[in-house]
């Protein structure tokens, strides 16, 4: 391999690091610090939103339970959904992982607009405060989708304005992050890093950034519409004055369907990074995985109305959205088949990141299959708005995104903090979470098909056994997260130093010390080929070659 002369970026000189506490840890411009800020803030929201879910499960332990009033129950599920999607899921997969890893993986010293990056982060706590403050003034009760007219009705919608404002703020933050990341990926890749040499996590983050930029702008407009309807009576959704409630469903899902891909694509990216590292072989079908991300991204804009099959669409609309929804299963299938094939003839090390990835593949597959069932318009008639859908969304967003997030946390924790997590605790965490995740959400499919609707505070006594079982499982599921929290604490106190490359991975973030130094690379690296060719020499020039290639563990 010959190293030709490469033009280095003009701005590649190193600025001096910040020296005051505020500049270093609070209003930091450093993408790695911002990533950790995202992790901590969204982690707090995760605990809060998770507790709301457990409150719901307490209420649902028996029919005609009166632990919560109906209003509080409604607020609990509405804020659970709102917080999990906007304050936990999207900030962690884009803001936290995207910031922590993407710039380093492309060999950049920071994102394109560090100041905007900081602004994006600080919108997250503002949004969180706005959304949770709505609890004090009567939080909205119509679920995270807030369909009008019911969301506009008193006494349900008293603080709908706060909810709109909170989600609007996080939407703007997400748009800005998307724009920032996309410019970073297009413009700031290290010399030699062509698009087909980018790590797959960068591909996933790039497509996600594109979705955040386009779809989330639409969310802002939709929320503005709901806000002015609510506060000034502008009759977009008011049927008594010619408005159309179904219009909201269109504009909302035009954002919110891409949003589920915003949530899942970075998790796909994490899976694509973890698998080759722990299987010790090149990923199978690099291009197929990369291009299928792009295909999913584009298709995701054309399937939104499959959330609305029961709201009286035209026949051609039903056919169109059904067909495209089924088509989107194909690129998703390609990814899963490629990942499974990568395991074939590897030298697999079953450490906790890989365990979470295997759990991801196992549960996400079921979520994908039920997704196809939901795509069929007639079958959807039985499944829509029932516990079947609740089960499906948790299989893809908990079994998918949350398992992916934990895989990423176990994988990049040493890079982020410089210390290892405890492997034995990690395995306990995984097995408890995997088993009780399935025990919690699998029975919901059955309850839904048998006729249990979602968003109810009580139910037909025929579902009592199922719901009690689900509630008890969900308590253990929530408790399994405590193991991770303890593990993180233990790692901070007693964790062994990680060294630069504890897993023997080959992407650029492992070529620099852990935790990553300010400005990442002393010299800008030069990339000579793709990142997954295990068994071959490292494909980089201009990096310190003394970093160990072999896994130390």
């Amino acid at each position: 391999m010959s190293v030709t002369h490469v033009e280095l970026p003009a701005s590649s000189h190193i600025h001096p690091p910040p020296d005051t506490f505020i500049k270093k840890y609070v209003f930091s411009l450093d993408h790695k610090v911002i990533a950790i800020q995202y992790f901590i803030t969204a982690g707090l929201f995760l605990v809060f939103a998770g507790l709301l879910a457990e409150l719901m499960r307490v209420q649902l332990m028996g029919p005609n339970n009166h632990v919560l009033s109906v209003a509080v129950f409604n607020q609990a599920y509405s804020l659970h959904g709102t917080a999990m999607v906007w304050l936990v899921g999207i900030p962690i997969v884009t803001g936290a992982f995207g910031n922590l890893i993407m710039p380093v993986q492309i060999g950049a010293r920071d994102v394109a607009f560090p100041w905007l990056n900081m602004l994006s982060f600080w919108m997250l706590p503002v949004a969180g405060i706005l959304v949770f403050a709505s609890l004090l003034f009567g939080a909205p009760q119509a679920g995270w989708t807030e369909y009008p007219p019911v969301s506009l009705q008193l006494p349900l919608g008293e603080s709908l304005s706060l909810w709109c404002a909170g989600v609007f703020v996080i939407g703007v933050s997400s748009t800005i992050t998307g724009l920032n990341f996309l410019v970073t990926i297009v413009k700031m890749r290290a010399p030699g890093m062509t698009y087909t040499r980018m790590p797959l996590f960068v591909w996933a983050t790039g497509v996600t950034a594109f979705l955040s930029m386009i779809a989330t702008a639409n969310l802002s407009a939709a929320l503005a519409g709901l806000f002015i309807q609510h506060n000034f009576g502008v009759p977009f959704y008011d049927v008594t004055r010619g408005g159309a409630p179904v219009l909201w469903q269109h504009v909302f899902w035009f954002y919110s369907h891409p949003a589920v891909y915003i949530l899942i694509l970075p998790a796909f990216g994490i899976v694509s990074e973890v698998i080759p590292t722990f299987v010790r072989r090149p990923i199978f079908g690099y291009k197929a995985i990369a291009y299928s991300s792009a295909a999913i991204g584009l298709l995701s804009f054309m399937v939104w109305a499959h959330h609305m099959f029961t709201s009286g669409l035209q026949h051609w609309e039903q056919l169109f959205f059904m067909l495209l929804t089924m088509v989107i299963a194909v690129p998703t299938g390609i990814k899963i088949f490629s990942w499974v094939t990568t395991l074939w003839r590897g030298k697999i090390r079953l450490d906790s990141p890989l365990l979470f990835v295997l759990g991801f593949l196992s549960t996400f597959t079921l979520g994908g299959i039920t997704g196809v069932m939901l795509a069929s318009v007639p079958a959807d008639a039985q499944e829509h708005a029932s516990y079947f859908v609740v089960a499906h969304i948790h299989y893809v967003l908990f079994g998918g995104t949350i398992f992916g997030i934990f895989a990423g946390l176990y994988y990049w924790w040493p890079k982020m903090t410089g210390r290892m997590l405890d492997e034995r605790l990690g395995k306990w965490h995984f097995w408890l979470m995997y088993i009780f995740f399935n025990l919690t959400f699998l029975p919901m499919h059955w309850a839904g098909l048998m006729g249990m609707p979602r968003r109810v505070a009580t139910y037909d006594p025929m579902f009592a056994g199922t719901n009690l079982f689900v509630s008890i499982s969900s308590f253990v599921l929530a408790a399994s997260i405590l193991i991770f929290i303890y593990n993180a604490y233990r790692s901070a106190r007693y964790g062994e130093p990680a060294g630069p490359n504890p897993w023997g991975a080959r992407t650029l973030e492992w070529m620099i010390p852990s935790p990553m130094p300010y400005y990442n690379f002393r010299d800008v690296p030069i990339v000579l080929s793709g990142p997954y060719d295990y068994g071959k020499p490292l494909p980089y020039a201009n990096i310190s070659q003394d970093l160990a290639m072999t896994p130390v563990r």
């Binding site: 701005s11 998307g178 724009l179 989330t216 009759p235 977009f236 004055r241």
Partner: protein, 197 residues
């Protein structure tokens, strides 16, 4: 490695950073376009769902004022173009003159719109009908963009007078021009949707 002194920005570095900013600004305009797209979709959806359009008792907006106003706005697009040409060829007075003209034309457009809101649509209110909702939301949002554009131009004009921009380094002006043309293009769509279609 590259320049050691972080304060003196080299030409190459300026070009690189403004390249990033240009792309970022284009992305911003795309997402802004989506916001207009959302409300245009809503307008067409409501219009399609309505039995009668415009709704009973609602007058169609007055075409002639809007036509004059459109000419004013497109004229401001032309003056903006010549202003930029002036900057590119380092003709300062051409730049300043044409930018001033753009600001005046933009303000005239806003004045025309204000007159239309207050005098020409006595029965159409924002909260009254779906027509009013779409009309005032979209044209209001556009008017707000024009207003921001005028402020933007005033700021870059003041900065030019203070000597911030040169023939080679004027990213702020490029952004202002792009923004102004973007606002023009959006108006074409709105003019067609509300006054002709």
């Amino acid at each position: 490695m590259a320049a050691a002194n972080a304060h003196a920005v080299s030409d190459a570095e300026y070009a690189e950073v403004s390249g990033h900013r240009l792309l970022g600004f284009l992305f911003f305009l795309i997402s802004d376009c989506v916001i207009f797209g959302n409300f245009i979709f809503s307008y067409l959806y409501l219009r399609n769902a309505a039995p009668l359009w415009p709704p009973v008792g609602i007058e169609r907006p007055y075409l002639y004022l809007a036509a004059v106003n459109s000419i004013v706005l497109f004229g401001s697009g032309a003056t903006m173009h010549y202003a930029m040409e002036g900057m590119r060829h380092d003709r300062r007075s051409q730049f300043i003159g044409y930018t001033l003209a753009t600001i005046v034309l933009g303000s005239m457009f806003l004045g025309g719109q204000a007159y239309e809101y207050t005098h020409l649509l006595p029965h159409t209110t924002w909260a009254g009908t779906t027509f009013g909702a779409s009309f005032y939301t979209l044209t209001g949002l556009h008017g707000f963009h024009v207003f921001i554009g005028v402020i933007f131009l005033i700021v870059v004009l003041l900065q030019t007078l203070r000597g911030t921009y040169t023939q080679e380094r004027h990213f702020g002006l490029t952004a202002a021009t792009l923004y102004w043309h973007f606002v023009d293009v959006i108006w074409v769509a709105l003019f067609f949707l509300f006054y002709i279609y």
